[in-house]
């Protein structure tokens, strides 16, 4: 299984670490809303199909990635940096030729 890192290009899945469900919204740290915290910690969609996920390219550039993966086929539908700002996304071959 290959995941195409926006920085490094296609790499084997062993270089990546799953960081969890990408659909969660963390409540404000000061929030007293127990239902919101409960949902953040426990509620998961667990879909049979496309799923938003956070991964880290832990064995490469170490960037955190937002990935859409199909849980039935393991097809990777999209990859992007989890954090905005580094918009030079899109693997380029690089080099001084």
């Amino acid at each position: 299984m290959l995941i195409t890192c926006p920085y490094c290009g296609p790499r084997d899945v062993i270089e990546f670490t799953y960081q969890g469900d990408g659909n969660r919204t963390r409540p404000q740290p000061a929030s007293q809303d127990l239902d919101a915290w409960n949902a953040y910690v426990y509620d998961r969609l667990n879909p049979a199909g496309d799923h938003n996920e956070i991964w880290q390219h832990s064995g490469g550039c170490r960037a955190h990635l937002r990935i859409v993966r199909n849980t039935l086929t393991h097809e990777i539908l999209s990859t992007a940096f989890a954090r905005g700002g580094h918009k030079s996304a899109g693997h380029k071959a690089g080099g001084n030729q």
């Binding site: 490094c8 270089e15 064995g59 030079s88 899109g90 380029k92 690089g94 080099g95």
Partner: protein, 210 residues
Amino acid sequence: MADRQLPERQSPERQLPERLSPLEPVYHPGSHGNFEHGVDVILSETRPGSILQLAAWPGEEKRLIDAIRKVTGLALPDGAGGGISNGGRAAFGFAPGKFTVVDEAEGLAAAFAGVVTPAIGTLTDLSHGRTAIRIAGPKAEWVLAKFFAIDFALPAFPLGAGRSTNHHDVFAQIQRSGADQFDIYVFRSFARSFWKALCHASEEVGYEVH
């Protein structure tokens, strides 16, 4: 006790300690392995004086690239994994907004002081923390392909470009410094183990240690 002289290590003029190679006990210059039919790779430790890691805050990448160009005189290209090497100096991107810059001379960190300001990013001197290993020769791609699951062919890994990957949890930053030459930067503490593995992997093609 109060008027005791400062120990030498606190003196501002102190020199960095002499660097010893972690490969020394297993570094055996000469021909090894199956070299009767020719030596197809040459392994060496390049021992650069300066190995720096520079990182830009989000949005400051262009300014950091400009600073690297200014200080090193290298035409560092923008873009993922872009890099350049001119023999004595080398620079390449290894992660978004992060760069490795190498100089065969010591003291490159001092040259960046005041240029890479806190508003642009950070500078970390890794000169004593990384070991630089060079593999060159017609079978260099072949040997490295046994270690790393990346494409070493020239069109996919152009001259000067850098790649971050790992071999059995040993992180490696690899730069192509020639058509059939690669420079590999590994953690100093893992360097001896990696070097021994590299020697084993090179036996079948015949290798020479310089």
